[in-house]
């Protein structure tokens, strides 16, 4: 995973947003995923246009108090989303 990678949501997921959390469902794979508020925010930023570096900068700008933790946390969340096969890196 490099800073210039552009994470992109995989298609075909049905999405339900509930109090800033997300519930995703893939009808073919019969897979359901729960995302807490933080993971849901990251997932929504994975539009295939922004690089990881740009997502990091955006999050740091929005949450300056957490600037030190954001790069590591973001990497962990992206790894988790990649393992769950809900994003791909372009």
């Amino acid at each position: 995973m490099s800073p210039s990678d552009k994470p992109k949501q995989k298609p075909d997921y049905h999405l339900e947003e509930m109090d800033n959390e997300l519930l995703l469902f893939h009808p073919q794979e019969k897979k359901v995923l729960y995302m807490n508020e933080t993971t849901a925010l990251v997932w929504q930023l994975c539009d295939g246009q922004r690089t990881i570096q740009e997502i990091t900068a955006l999050l740091v700008e929005t949450f300056p108090d957490a600037a030190r933790e954001i790069p590591g946390d973001l990497e962990n969340i992206l790894k988790q989303l990649q393992q769950e096969r809900v994003i791909e890196l372009a």
Binding site: L23, F25, K30
Partner: protein, 283 residues
Amino acid sequence: MNELRTHTISFAGSTVALQYEGHEAVRIIEFLFRHIPTSEEQGVADVTYHLLSKGGVAELRLGHRENEIHFRASEGEVAGYLLGRVCEALASHSTGGMVFHASALSWNGMGVMLPGTMEVGKSTLTAWLLSRGYDYLTDEMVYLPNGEARLVGFPRPLNLRRSSRFVWQELRGERTEEVWSGSDFDLVQPDWFPMTRVCSAAPLNLIIFPRYDLRATFAFEPLSKAQAGLELMRHFVNARNLPEAGFPRIAQLVRRVPAYRLRYARFEQIEGRIEARLAPARG
């Protein structure tokens, strides 16, 4: 003289026909389905099972000719096996609404659903709640008709593990004829519990995901709507029969009904707490 009879059971939009013959077969059908209304519709069964008995031995035949399974055993054993198969068949053919693997009870007209797999102890918890004055809907299978937050239960005898016998036998039941036993389970009629009423439906006011764990620290905590949706999807039996696997309906449901996670090691830890959560729904 024995004669072949048919007993038809409809639940959640699907139907099972039981063709049976013999003294023990009659007893089994009467015991298992005492609280379940017989369907008026004939000839529309999704599945047909055959239950025959002769000389004190019950035999259950499932399937069709070349794939037929024969199961010969004691009354209690055959009853337990048949009950499981009937529940599976009804759930897997249901298309009208959502079917959950769950217990359901009612307290002062307010309904509680307890979804869970076999090992979480939901039948034993149900037995304990019955001893506390709750009304019985089911210990296994709940149906929510299309778009409604309304519980319809399959009011079968409670299927309690042998290992939990020491718990429910303390709950003051006396009528031993209301209990049938298999090798590792007991089928206990809700009537066994004094004061228990069986009701067919109740509004859904509360969802609780229970887990008994002897070493657990007690917890009774609210779940977010998304967490509740994830949990419910795990116990959603007929999802494959519904459009978009019922996902939008689950989302709609958890937006309307509060859900909690319950971890407990002793029943006394629960005393009064479920009723306290139901009180706001009463208004």
